[in-house]
Symmetry: C2
Subunit: 197 residues, 2 copies
Amino acid sequence: METLERKQRSREQTRSAIVLTAKDIARREGWQAVSIRKIADAIDYSAPIVYEYFDSKDILLDEIRNDGFRELQHEYERIKKLYRDPEKRLFEMSVAQWQFAMHQPEIYQVMHNLNGAYCNRPICESSGMEAVSILIREIIFTFIPKSQESIQKLYFEWWSLSHGMISLALMLRDRQSLELSEQVYRDSIRRFVRGLR
Amino acid sequence: METLERKQRSREQTRSAIVLTAKDIARREGWQAVSIRKIADAIDYSAPIVYEYFDSKDILLDEIRNDGFRELQHEYERIKKLYRDPEKRLFEMSVAQWQFAMHQPEIYQVMHNLNGAYCNRPICESSGMEAVSILIREIIFTFIPKSQESIQKLYFEWWSLSHGMISLALMLRDRQSLELSEQVYRDSIRRFVRGLR
DNA sequence: TTGTCAAGTTAACAGTGTTAAATCGCCGTT
DNA sequence: AACGGCGATTTAACACTGTTAACTTGACAA
């Protein structure tokens, strides 16, 4: 029966429609405004249909978060292929993270339980985050082959710097221009990367 | 009538009981579990009574946030009086911020809309935050008297570093020991402060 | 005894996540 | 053609949420 695969295709379509709608509401009205009924209304279904695709709201948010990490991961892999110099690599990856957060702040928010986005599933157990973390640590390692613990520390440092600046830049959006914030970000990352050698 | 001031005292008591209860629930069950009815139950009143003291949940959260910033401010002022060396001052203030966040993570969360704590009132419009921000920028200024814009940049850098490490340390709590995180924090802050001169 | 006023409660509204029960239409069987 | 089953979908319900209007209750003054 080809109807079966057609059904499957339609299933995947409404599934992704749910995800897209959730992101859309979040972008326009914030994560606090994202509700199952609102999603259902937008895709012309009743609320319980959403539960045919996601067992709970938490699981839906977790999937969106994971998609986010995976998108970031692919971006990182692209950059890794593009450059050979580890300094350049880490710098460009940092810039990519900034771009990602600025272009899709609502995704960045759900990835870090920020600003009303709240998913009970622990962020660190997201497989996407693990993948990203491994990628960055590898880059740092090819840079300075030190003990695993040192790499962990440096990774924590890099991530803190990046995440701190991004989340504060988003928070201060209308009292410190994003251009200025980005400039400080690039300078700080550059300093950090130079400091590694 | 002394009954009037007695009434006022009792008003202030139940008012602070509301705030304490909200913090208590947040500490034990997370901010998502904080509801007006639960607070009312805990202080043996019905829900509408809470609205006699706070016009909305948002305003209650905003007050708790502001209290947090003010506590931090007083801590900073204590340290400012204690030391004369600007390097020492900034370092000790950073450590104080770390201690504050680790001892009262739920307050730190509501101060930054983190992890399910969500208050619609913009963080930057909180008077407490403004006060803290001025204090730190003053310290940096007595350190390196530069243009206002440079100070703003350095403040942004310091705050990002501190906030980034604190929020990630809290997030990674059970896969990276707080001792290790604190060690990296102190080293990074030290480096930042030294880099200022 | 009646009236007033404040304190506090109940009841309601619209919304939330979530689930069980009911509906409805289509397809194959008797 | 009538019946049965089945899958897709909806309705209705539960226990919550923030918030407000309307009500009760009790004390004190005239």
